[in-house]
Each structure stands twice: as C-alpha cells, then as structure tokens.
C-alpha cells in the first residue's frame, strides 16, 4: 500500500502507547488470529478511560507540513458481506495538534474518559466487532492514517447457582432410542464446567460413541436477509461403546480450553452470537443422532472467578 501510494506523499511514522493513569502497564488480551496463532492486544472494559500518547516522528532536518493531527476512538461492526464498509457505532475524536509544521518528533498525550464500550470485541466467521484508535496526520490528499486496535471485554458478576435452572430434556426416536439428558445449568461463564448426565431409557440401536459439541451460531441481518453461520468449536467424546438401558453416562466438559465468547444478542441490531451444546450419538453404521440445546455464556469478572484453582476440586462429583 505504502509503495503503491508512495509517491503521493511521505508516510509519517506514527506510534501510539497506551497508558494507565496509575502508571501501571496496560493489561493485554491474548486474542486468536485465524491461522496465525495469537496476538497481544491492550485490553479495556466498558467505561474505562483510555489514556495514551501519540508519537509522530519526523525525519530530522526535514519539515513536515500538516493540516492537523487527531486521534479517533472508533467502535466498528464489519460484516463479511459488507467488507470495507464498517459500521461505526462509536466515534470519538480528540484533536492533538492544530495545522502546522512538524520539525521534530512530537509527542501528544490524549485521553478519552469513561468511554461507553458496551459491546465486546469479537472476531467471527462473518462478522467482527472491533475497537481502534485511529491517528490521522492530515496533509491534504495524502493524509497519514494509522490504526491501533485494542480489545474490549465486558464482565458480568458471577451468576448465582440458582440463576438458570438446569436443562433437562427427554428426547428419542420412537421404539428405538430414548434418552434423557441433563445439563446442570443453562448459563455458564467462560471458565465454567458443564456437568451433566445422559440417561439411557431405551436403547435398540447399537451405539458406537457419544460426544458433546460446542457450536456457535452467528446471525447477521434480519428478516429476508438474515444469515446464519454455524461453527463447531469443540468435540468432546463422553462415551465409548454401546450403553444399555438404564445406564447413566456422566458429562463433565471444561469450557476454558475453548475459544469461546459470551452469548451476544442483537449487537447493535447487526448480529447475534449464540452457543449450543450439541449431543451427538453415533451408531455402528455411522448414523448420527443429535440434539442441540442452547446455553447462555457470559464472562464472569476475574474477581468473581476467584474460586480459581480449587474450583476444579469442586468439580469432583459431590
């Protein structure tokens, strides 16, 4: 890009550093990048104030003329179907410098106080929601623009155990297979453990194994243009072999290893993300029998997860 437009104007090296008011280093979030492993991004919550310093460098001895320097805080939703035309649901701007000449490297502090960032950052298959700080050095037709993404996560307090009744359901194929399954809750936080049981009430088919899948469904648009995209994030085998009637198979699925997000409902009227537990039974002829059940995911605040390591001990059957 730079090469392509290289002649149009001189690109300006722009740097940005996030700061915290208390001087502590800014927290980072580890975010998965498709096919590239992970990247580290500065992490903020809703209502956080975002402080920082923009450094615009100049080649010493050369004068850089500009029509002003500004930093924007943008919240964007970008659908795959509308690539390149993100929808800004949040746009704040701070002017860093009036038009003038840049003779040497200049540093500009900025701050956005108590920014309303109610939506989580999200990278899905056909939609992404992102927050960026965009620094623009305006120079007529060839402005220098640089984006600095950061990540936003919002937390909810830990749901009380009574919050969200267990999911219990009896399903089956007549005269063939009847099972009752039970997940202890309908609502889980992201480091939670799904505990449940499958009761086999009638088994007339030769099952080979059974697994629980975690599936994510992104929904974009609405009405006629509504589009769903499903993705299986996890396959977790919970049974090997053929059970007989009366058998009860335990489920204990740890959510933490998977790259999950909270459930999002109609984010800015643009998209939704839902999660499902899909129970799949496979018979000896590789026929699959499944039952999908939505679960609510939420992100519990770190403090509320403080039962931390011994939470695992609590997952022993009690």
């Amino acid at each position: 890009m730079q090469r392509l437009f290289g002649n149009l104007g001189q690109t300006v090296p722009i740097q940005l550093e996030f700061h915290r008011r208390d001087g502590q280093p800014v927290k980072n979030a580890t975010v998965k990048v498709k096919g590239l492993g992970t990247e580290q991004l500065p992490l903020f919550n809703n209502k956080d104030s975002i402080y920082g310093e923009v450094k615009v460098s100049n080649i010493p001895g050369k004068k850089l003329e500009h029509q002003g320097i500004k930093v924007q805080l943008l919240g964007q939703i970008e659908l795959a179907s509308e690539r390149g035309h993100p929808h800004d649901f949040l746009a704040l701007v701070r002017d860093l410098s009036p038009p003038g000449d840049l003779v040497q490297t200049e540093k500009y502090g900025f701050e956005f106080n108590d920014v309303e960032m109610q939506y989580d950052s999200y990278r899905g298959l056909q939609v992404r929601l992102r927050y960026i700080l965009r620094v623009t050095v305006s120079k007529g037709y060839s402005s220098s623009v640089k984006d600095f993404p950061f990540w936003v996560r919002n937390f909810e307090p830990l749901a009380a155990p009574t919050n969200g009744a267990p999911i219990k359901m009896e399903v089956g194929i007549e005269e063939c297979l009847h099972i009752e399954f039970e997940y202890d809750k309908a609502k889980y936080h992201l480091k939670d453990t799904v505990v449940g049981k499958i009761y086999f009430l009638l088994v007339r088919i030769k099952l080979k194994h059974m697994e629980v899948e975690i599936r994510r469904r992104e929904t974009t648009g609405s009405g006629q243009s509504m589009h769903n995209e499903n993705e299986t994030l996890a396959k977790y085998e919970i049974m090997d072999g053929a059970p007989v009637r009366g058998e009860a198979i335990p489920i204990r699925l740890f959510l933490s290893p998977y790259d999950l997000t909270p459930t999002y409902k109609t984010v800015h009227n643009k998209f939704s993300v839902k999660y499902f537990l899909n129970l799949v039974l496979v018979d000896e002829e590789d026929r699959r029998y499944f039952k999908q059940q939505e679960i609510q995911l939420y992100r519990a605040s770190d403090a509320s997860q403080a039962n931390g390591p011994h939470a695992a001990a609590a997952t022993l059957v009690s």
């Binding site: 396959k235 977790y236 049974m239 090997d240 072999g241 204990r252 740890f254 390591p309 022993l316």
Partner: protein
C-alpha cells in the same frame, strides 16, 4: 466387535499398535524432559488412544494394555515432579480432562487421581468416587474392563481402609468398600454384556474370551477381602448383600459361576459360616447353566477344611446348623430345576458327604441323611446312565468305605437304595468293591443285622440281577470273593455264629446252582470250624454234643444240596470232612457213619470218571484212616467197602496204589504220647491189624506184577510204571517195617529189595530219571536208618542193599 480373525492378523495389529505406543511414549518422555506439560499430555493421550482399538482379542489387548500401563508409570512420576514444581494436583486433574477422547482422558484421570489421593490434597473418598463414576464413560466391554481394572490397580493401597493413612479426612472403610463394589458392579455389567455381543457362531470363542477376563472382575472382590477393616458385620451388611444382588441380577451363567466361586474362595471361612443362609439362599436363583454343584462343592470343601483346621469351630457349625442348611440347599437345588444333570447332583452330594466326614467324623446318621437326600434327588433318574454321574456315584459310595470300616458302613440304611440307582453292572462292581474292602481290612461281621445288611449291599453278587448278564470271565472271581466273605461272618457267640451262617445260606439259595457251587462249600467249612469251636468252648459236654449235632445236621443238608447242584466231588469232600469232624471233634459215631454212607453213595452214583474216582477214593481212605470213633463192626463195613472200591478201579496202577493206601486202613497210628490215657469218650483204640496189612501189600505186589505182564502183552516193555509201583510198594513195606508191623520181617523186606533191585537193573529203568531218583532216595533212607545207631538201626542193619 472383534470378528473372527487370523492369529497372524492379530499379531500384526498388536505389533502396529505397540509400535505406535512406543513412538508416542518416546515423544511423551521427550516432552517431559523439556518440561512441557501440555505436549506430554498430548502425546500420552495419543499413546492411550491406541487402546481404543476395536480389533484386538482380549489376550492381545491385554498385551497392549500392559505396554501402555508401563508408560503410564512414567507419567505418574512426571506428575509428581510437576507437583513439586508447584502445580497443584487439582490443576492437573482438570487439565487432563481436556483430552477430547474419553478413553485416554479417563486413563489420564485415573493416573492423576492416584497421585492426587497420595498427596492428600483432596480426600481420597472424593477422588475415588469421582473416578469410579467418570469411568462410566467407557461402555465398551473390553475397553471398559481394562480401564476399570487400571483404576482398581492404581488405587490399590490408596483406599481409606482402617489403619490406612488415607482414613479419616480421606473417608472411612465404607467409602473404600463402596468404591470397590461400584467398580465391581460396573465391571460385571460390562463383562456380562460381552455375551450378548456374540452371534451364535462366535459364542464359544466369546465365552472363552470372557473366561480370560474373569480375573479382572474378581480382583475387586479380592481387594475387598484384603481390606484390613473388613469385619463380619461390614461383610454381611455392606458387602455380601450387594455382591449377591449383583450376581443374581446379572442373569449370566458364566459370571454367576465365577463370582460365586470368587466369593467362596475370597472371603474367610467364618464369614461364610455366618452367612450360610445368604450364600445358599441364592443358589436356586442362579441361571440354569450354572454348575451349582461346583459352587456348593467348593463351599463344602472350604468349610470342611475349616473344620479340620480347628476342632473348636465345629461347635459353631452346630450353632448355625450348617449341616442342615447345606443339605436342604442341596435338595432345593435339585428340586428347583428339573434339568439338573445327574452328574451334578451326585457331585454335590459327594461333596456334602466328604464335608460331613470331615466335620462330623463320627456322625453316621448324618452320612445316612446325605445318602437319603442323594437317593431322593436321583430317584427319578434311576438308573443312572450318564457315564460321569455313574462314576461319581461310585465314588460317592466308596467314600464311606474309605472313611469308615465296612461294619460301620453297614449301618447306613440308605446305602443299598443309593446303590440301586446304579445300573446293574456298576452295582455289581460296587458290591465287589465292598467285598474287597471287607477282605482287605479283615473286618468281621458279627451281628445278624449287619449280615443281613451286608447281603443287601452285595446282593448283585448273591443272586441274579435283572438286566445283567453274568460275565463268565469274572463270575468265578466274584463268587470266590463271596466265598471268602463267608469266613468274615463270625460271632463270638457260637449260636449266633450259626445263625449268621444259616442266614447267609438262605440268601445264597436265591443265587441258583451256578452260585451255590461256589458258595455252599465255604458255608459248610465255616460250620465245621464252628463245630470245633463249640466242642472246645463248651464245658457242658451234653450241650456241646447237642449243638454239634445240630450244626452237623445242617452241614449234612448243605452237602446234600451241593450234591444236587450238582457238584458231587465237592459234596463228597464235604461229607468226608464232616465225617472226620463228627468223628474226631464231636465223637458222634452215628453221624460220622451217616456221612460216610452218603459219601459212598455219592462215590457210587455220582462220580463221573475214573480219574475222579481215584481222587475220591484216596480222600475216602485218608479220612477213614484217621477216624477213630467207629466200633469194629461199622469200621469193618466201611473198610470193606473202601477196599472193595479199590479193587474195582479200572487201571492197574490205580488199583495197585489204592490197595496200598487201603492197607493203612488196618494200621492206625498210636495216639500221641501227650494224649495218653485221656482218651475222649467214644474213641476206639487204634486198629493195628498186621495180617490184613500184609494181605493188602501182597495184593498190591500181585497187581504190580500183572501190570507188568499186561504191558508186556501189548509190547510196551520199555514202560517203567510197574517198576515205579514196586518202588512205591517197597516204601510202604519200609513204613510198616519201621512201624514195627510184625508181618514185615527182615527177610520179607530183603526179598522185596532184591526184587526191586533186579527190576531196576533194566536198561529202561536206568534211563528214567524220576524213577532213579525215587529209588536212590529209598536206598539212601535205608542207609541213613542203618547209621542212626538206635533200636531201629539194628533192625535195618541186617538188610543188604
């Protein structure tokens, strides 16, 4: 499911899987060295993934399992290392559960779990409970069995047993029991389920495979039995009831069979004694394929050994009525299912019998009860045709014979009825065995009841049995046994003894002539001995005479019957022996005479050929010679008759010899010195009729002479028999000479010696070695007599050789 597959194919699959295990183990250990937990777990899960194979037979699978098992010990060490570095087991316990496949995940979970318990970071009971529950995720029989056996293995020593370091916060013994029993129940379910996966064709193979896996299931029970804190109350309430429940509800014959054995072998004797009701009560509920008798037998064996080890426990046996319960259980088993194979029923009773023998060695009534029960159980199936059952039944019947002496066995009223269940041939074998035992042990059967009983027991020998052909080959042998048995029927009391013999005869009568031929004679001889006993043992001579008379009369009857059998030769011998007894023991002349009379009649009428005649006549002469009871008159008659017979023999040599023998009828021995004057009443003085002796001997010479001439007529001059006769006659002469018979003077003897020497000079005689030897011995005898230097030597000295 495992399809029928060649051995080679199996070996190849195992090889491949084993290589994969090795490969992944290598990477796992590498990751461990690099301290990379995540990678170590990943490779260990892949390694364990090899155990997901559906194709290996249990045996091959076991080999693979052992490989994986060894690698898992490295993992345990690694976990301990991780813990030392500060990672909590709770963390690890969660971490391994991230594995996507259930089987590797659970192996890892068990592995961490064992470390977790050992660290005491969590109560043992919670971890154990969790593990045993989570393992439900594997429902595949073989994979599940091995997984749970791994669980069982790694948790060994970590159970909150009494006295264990894991007791207390870690739980109590009941948690330990709970854990093992749940694992047991789950394993048993998996094990039984294998059965249903088999098609008919594969059933045999499948059952064989199941047998190979049995010990995995049983190990849980073994571990329960090894808990230090297991006392009787816990066992009864907490263990047995649940195990029994599992055994019944699984409805699987192989499992029931194995598990019953497991329980019986695994837990202590006194526990069994206290829970007999439960143990036995379950038997009727078992599947028809279960060999209940084996179960009962092993229980009985154990209890028997228990009783043998400590005599004090026999009281406990009595308190709980062990015998009654066991007998009823045995009966119930046979009743509840009509189709119990007879072999099983017999085997069970055999075990019951040896139990009774071991616990109550002196309770014959109980042995009898067992026999009753056996009879009732088998009655409907009689006769037992199944070869195995038959063999076992014979064994069953032999047990009392080995344990007790036969007389004791005779008190078992139900013994013959059990015997009657056997097919005739076997029944007879049994009878033979009884006889042999009596004879071997030299047991005396001395009461009427027992004799009757004994004869009941051995009735197949005593008389014909329906449906049984007598085998000629063995018939005589068998009858000989019976004959020998007669001599075991002995009572101290002579009257009773006589009654015993009479009773035996009554029974023997039913056996028909072919048996009587063998059995009557021993009876008669036993009676003869009885006569002697009576005479010697009874002070009152009149009473003795009366008793003897009765017995002799009876013998007379027996002999007469024997003559009619017909067995004239034996009967004749019998008459003679009886005559001798009547004469020499009882001193009853008339009776003795009567016996001789009968003997003579038989001689005249029933002796079939000349050879037999010779033998018979020799016997007659021999006996008559020794009888001293006859008055001159009756003796004359008898002697006359006997000499008459001797003249009527067909062959000259026979005649000659018989006449020689008859000479002795006129020359009885003087009574021995010690008898002295104390001669019994009725005994006549010895006959010493020198003239008649001489007459006989001369006649003998004459006959020998004519025999020689007779041979010359038919040109058989080279025959040496007449010379032999001469030498024999010479010997008779010498005998009388030594006896001091006045008719035999030195000159008479000298001339005979010369005559014989003459004959011996013959060329033919010199070739006949037997004759030469005989002659030389005779001459030597004379020479020796000469050298003796006593009175007789003087007489001999004038003889010239």
């Amino acid at each position: 499911m495992v399809e029928a597959m060649g051995l080679e194919e199996q070996a190849r699959l195992l090889q491949e899987a084993g290589n994969a295990v090795k490969r992944n183990a290598f990477f796992m250990k590498k990751a461990m060295d690099e301290d990379n937990l995540r990678e170590a777990l990943r490779y260990s899960a892949t390694l364990l993934g090899e155990l997901r194979t559906p194709t290996l037979t249990p045996q091959r699978y076991y080999e693979l399992y052992m490989q994986a098992f060894n690698e898992l010990t490295h993992l345990q060490a690694f976990f301990r290392e991780e813990r030392r570095k500060g990672r909590s087991y709770a963390d690890l316990y969660e971490l391994v559960q991230h594995a996507g496949n259930v089987l590797p995940r659970l192996y890892l979970l068990c592995t961490v779990g064992s470390c977790y318990i050992r660290s005491k970071e969590a109560p043992a009971k919670s971890v154990l409970k969790d593990l045993v529950e989570m393992c439900k995720g594997v429902q595949h029989p073989i994979r599940g069995l091995f997984l749970r056996s791994y669980l069982c293995q790694v948790s060994r020593g970590l159970l909150p047993d009494v006295g264990s370091e894991f007791e207390g916060d870690g739980g109590s013994i009941s948690d330990a029991i709970e854990f093992l029993l749940i694992n047991f129940a789950e394993m048993n379910k998996l094990w039984c389920r294998m059965q249903h996966h088999a098609s008919g064709r594969d059933r045999d193979r499948r059952e064989q495979e199941r047998q190979q896996l049995a010990d995995l299931v049983g190990r849980n029970l073994t571990y329960v039995s090894q808990l230090d804190g297991l006392d009787f109350a816990l066992y009864q309430e907490g263990v047995l009831a649940r195990v029994m429940d599992q055994i019944v509800s699984c409805k699987d014959a192989i499992a029931q069979q194995y598990l019953m054995q497991c329980v019986i072998q695994g837990f202590p004797d006194d526990f069994h004694l206290g829970t007999l009701d439960s143990l036995l009560g379950i038997l009727p509920d078992l599947q028809s394929g279960v060999q209940v008798h084996v179960v009962v037998s092993s229980l009985l064996d154990r209890l028997a050994r228990f009783a043998a080890s400590d005599k004090a426990v026999v009281d406990t046996f009595n308190q709980v009525d062990a015998f009654g319960k066991l007998t009823r259980a045995a009966a119930k088993v046979t009743e509840s299912e009509n189709e119990v194979p007879s072999g099983d029923v017999v085997a069970m009773h055999a075990a019951l019998l040896s139990f009774t023998g071991a616990v109550y060695p002196d309770r014959l009534d109980l042995v009898n009860k067992v026999l009753t029960s056996a009879y009732q159980a088998l009655e409907k199936q009689a006769p037992i045709k199944d070869a195995k059952a038959e063999k076992l039944l014979v064994q069953l019947l032999s047990t009392p014979l080995d344990n007790y002496d036969v007389v004791t066995v005779l008190e078992l009223a139900n013994y013959p009825s059990v015997m009657s269940l056997l097919r005739p041939a076997k029944r007879k074998e049994m009878a033979v065995k009884i006889c042999q035992t009596i004879l071997r042990q030299r047991t005396l059967v001395s009461s009427m009841e027992k004799v009757e009983m004994l004869l009941d027991f051995i009735s197949p020998l005593v008389r014909d049995t329906e449906g049984l052909e007598d085998d000629d080959e063995f018939f005589e042998e068998e009858q000989n046994l019976l004959a020998r048995l007669v001599h075991q029927l002995v009572s101290q009391d002579t009257d009773e003894h006589f009654e015993l013999l009479r009773a035996a005869r009554d029974r023997f009568n039913a056996g028909g002539p072919k048996r009587l031929r063998h059995t009557l004679a021993p009876l008669a001889f036993a009676a003869l001995r009885l006569v002697r006993t009576i005479k010697e043992g009874t002070a009152d001579s009149k009473k003795a005479d009366g008793a003897c008379k009765t017995v002799l009369q009876w013998i007379h009857g027996v002999a007469a019957q024997l003559a009619e059998v017909p067995a004239a030769e034996i009967a004749l011998q019998l008459y003679l022996q009886a005559a001798h007894a009547a004469s020499e023991v009882a001193c009853l002349e008339l009776i003795a005479y009567e016996f001789f009379e009968q003997a003579f009649i038989l001689y005249e009428e029933a002796i079939p050929d000349s050879k037999a005649e010779v033998t018979a006549l020799q016997s007659i002469v021999g006996v008559l010679h020794r009888c001293r009871v006859f008055t001159a008159e009756s003796r004359d008659t008898l002697v006359h008759k006997a000499t008459g017979y001797s003249a009527k023999l067909l062959k000259k040599p026979d005649q000659c010899r018989a006449v020689c023998a008859c000479s002795h009828l006129f020359w009885q021995e003087l009574p021995a010195e010690e008898e002295g004057d104390d001669v019994a009443e009725g005994v006549q003085p010895p006959v010493r009729d020198a003239d008649n002796v001489m007459v006989c001997l001369k006649r003998a010479l004459k006959i020998a002479n004519s025999a020689q001439q007779q041979l010359a007529v038919v040109l058989k001059g080279d025959h040496t028999t007449p010379v032999m006769l001469f030498v024999e006659i010479l010997n008779h002469y010498l005998f009388y000479f030594e006896q001091g018979n006045p008719s035999i003077t030195t000159s008479v003897l000298q001339s005979l010696l010369e005559l014989v020497a003459n004959e011996m000079a013959n060329e033919n005689c010199q070739k006949d070695e037997a004759l030469l030897a005989f002659y030389n011995s005779t001459r030597n005898h004379i020479a020796i007599q000469k050298d003796k230097g006593d009175e007789l030597a003087q007489k001999f000295s004038s003889l010239q050789l």
